[in-house]
């Protein structure tokens, strides 16, 4: 063998060796997920919604949720993100005609179709512009603690960093489901346009500004409840010593309908202060309301009540405001409608959370009232107290128990109607149904996250 041939042989062996070794590193498969079991007792949840009632029956039930997150990562700049959900109530769940829901498999012998799609989107950094692109069914949250909107939606979101400024520009189409026999696809649509900026003033202070626009061309103002909405807002996150404070404000304007203009606002703040072995949490939220429900509208608009896409997890409530820890039975005394059907909301919440080795605990109190009273309606919604204690069985698995009780305000407890205190649509509609019992809840959770 000549020297040249030998060199060729070495190169060939080297190429083959590298060739067989590289494919193993070409794709990173990333799996994450969660499983939560929740046993619930109380007189409030009925398995699908809120159940305020006079002489409310107590009962117990159990439910579970699993989420599977698979990410196919080609490299640091390119990946496909998928996220699925599987829900079931122990014993199964049927609709009014006795048919099993498509997203429940708790019946005898299981075997129902339960896989729900949460996210399927491509996430890449453009090699030319350095812009991060997310295209597909993806989660999106507003910069106002998710009060306006937190949802999985189809869209395209672009994010570019110009240190210390980060700017996002997004387009989401959340309604284009008109039957083909009524209108062609792309005609009766609802779109969200997002322009969101965050500026890091120092490493401890970030300020943000945003503009959201929703153009509802579906021909219906039932969901969302407006035709055209502009929302401008400011938000910040400030770390000062042991405290982190996040204030926010947003103003909405636009058209509810051809005869009704919109002018409304949201304001609030959350705070977390390290004290002793844990932290004090405090939060306040104000959503402007409308005092008559006619003419021009002054009530802050959320995008949807059903499906529920509005949150305020910083409240740390279980019943007064939808809980951030809830799974399938995720609702509140307001039926997830923080706007109380246009009356607006004023809420104040505080609590303490801490850990001791593998034990974690928290206790909270909160009060909520409507921002506006319509007629004789009383503004008071109620006061909640709750507490939770848990233990970390493993790094990834915890067990916990929680209890919550709401002292209902007259707005929810008393009968509704002309000259009466109850809030129409929430309070008892008849004298026979009044007064609603105070709701309470106990739960036991097993939570595994990986």
């Amino acid at each position: 063998m000549s020297f040249k041939k030998k060199i060729m042989a070495v190169v060939a062996v080297g190429a083959l060796t590298v060739g067989t070794a590289v494919p193993a590193m070409a794709l990173e498969n990333e799996f994450h997920g969660m499983f939560k079991f929740m046993g619930i007792g109380g007189n409030f949840f009925n398995g699908s919604g809120a159940n305020l009632a006079k002489d409310a029956h107590s009962g117990t039930f159990a439910e579970q949720r699993a989420r599977i997150n698979y990410i196919a990562k080609a490299n640091d700049n390119l990946k496909l993100v998928t996220h699925f959900e599987l829900d079931s109530r122990f014993g199964g769940k049927v609709n009014q005609t006795g048919q099993y829901y498509a997203n429940d498999s708790g019946n005898l012998d299981a075997d129902q179709i339960t896989l729900e799609t949460k996210n399927v989107y491509l996430d890449f950094n453009c090699p030319i512009t350095g812009t991060n692109v997310k295209a597909g069914i993806q989660p999106w949250s507003d910069s106002y603690k998710s009060v306006f909107l937190l949802a999985d939606m189809t869209g395209v979101n672009l994010t570019k960093k110009f240190d210390p400024l980060t700017v996002s520009l997004g387009w989401f189409r959340f309604d284009d489901n008109t039957p083909g026999s009524t209108a062609d696809v792309g005609q009766l649509t609802a779109d969200l346009i997002v322009l969101d900026g965050k500026f890091a003033v120092t490493k401890d202070i970030t300020v943000g500004a945003s503009y959201y626009n929703i153009q509802n061309d579906t021909g219906s103002t039932s969901n969302p409840g407006f035709e055209l909405l502009h929302m401008v807002g400011l938000n910040a996150s400030i770390k000062a010593g042991p405290a982190t404070i996040d204030p926010f404000f947003a103003y909405q304007f636009g058209e509810v309908s051809a005869t009704s203009d919109l002018s409304a606002f949201l304001a609030g703040a959350t705070a977390k202060v390290k004290v002793g072995p844990g932290s004090i949490n405090a939060a306040a939220l104000y959503l402007s309301g409308d005092d008559n429900g006619t003419g021009d509208a002054d009530d802050f608009k959320i995008v949807s009540v059903s499906p529920p896409t509005s949150y305020f997890n910083a409240a740390n409530m279980w019943l007064l405001v939808r809980s951030g820890q809830a799974i399938n039975s995720s609702t509140s005394v307001l039926g997830n409608d923080l706007t109380v059907r246009g009356r607006g909301l004023a809420g104040f919440f505080a609590g303490y959370e801490g850990t001791m080795d593998k034990v974690f605990y928290n206790a909270n109190v909160g009060y909520a009232m409507t921002a506006e009273e319509r007629g004789s309606e009383d503004s008071s919604l109620g006061t909640e107290i709750n507490a939770q204690v848990g233990y970390k069985l493993f790094d990834n698995l915890s067990i916990s128990a929680a209890a919550a009780y709401v002292f209902l305000g007259d707005g929810l407890k008393k009968q509704s109607g002309t000259g009466l205190k109850g809030i129409s649509g929430f309070a008892p509609a008849t004298a026979a149904a009044a007064d609603f019992d105070d709701p309470y809840m106990l739960n036991v959770q097993l939570a595994y996250v990986f």
Partner: protein, 90 residues
């Protein structure tokens, strides 16, 4: 001499690729992957472990990483935090 050089070259190239597999265990060691689901070649980090490791690396600061690398680690931490929030939201 040339033959030896060729063989050494080939052996070296093999040696730099093979250790990943070879280091898993020797004949005398127990297979902890089969026995206790530990140290498996395909083991991946849980989301909590990933966050913990990123925090630990960021804490090492500029003694170990350049400003650009710290920024990249911070971005990965933010992304992992968001992923965890998304998994846990109602």
């Amino acid at each position: 001499m040339k033959k030896i050089a060729v063989l050494l070259c080939a052996a070296f190239m093999m040696s730099v690729t093979v250790p990943v597999f070879a280091a898993e265990m020797t004949k005398e060691e127990k297979d902890q992957c089969l026995l206790a689901s530990k140290n498996c070649a395909t083991e991946v980090d849980s989301i909590q472990k990933k966050i913990k490791k990123l925090n630990a690396e960021i804490k090492k600061g500029k003694k170990v990483y350049s400003a650009e690398e710290i920024k990249k680690l911070q971005e990965k931490l933010d992304e992992a935090d968001k992923m965890l929030d998304n998994l846990l939201r109602p």
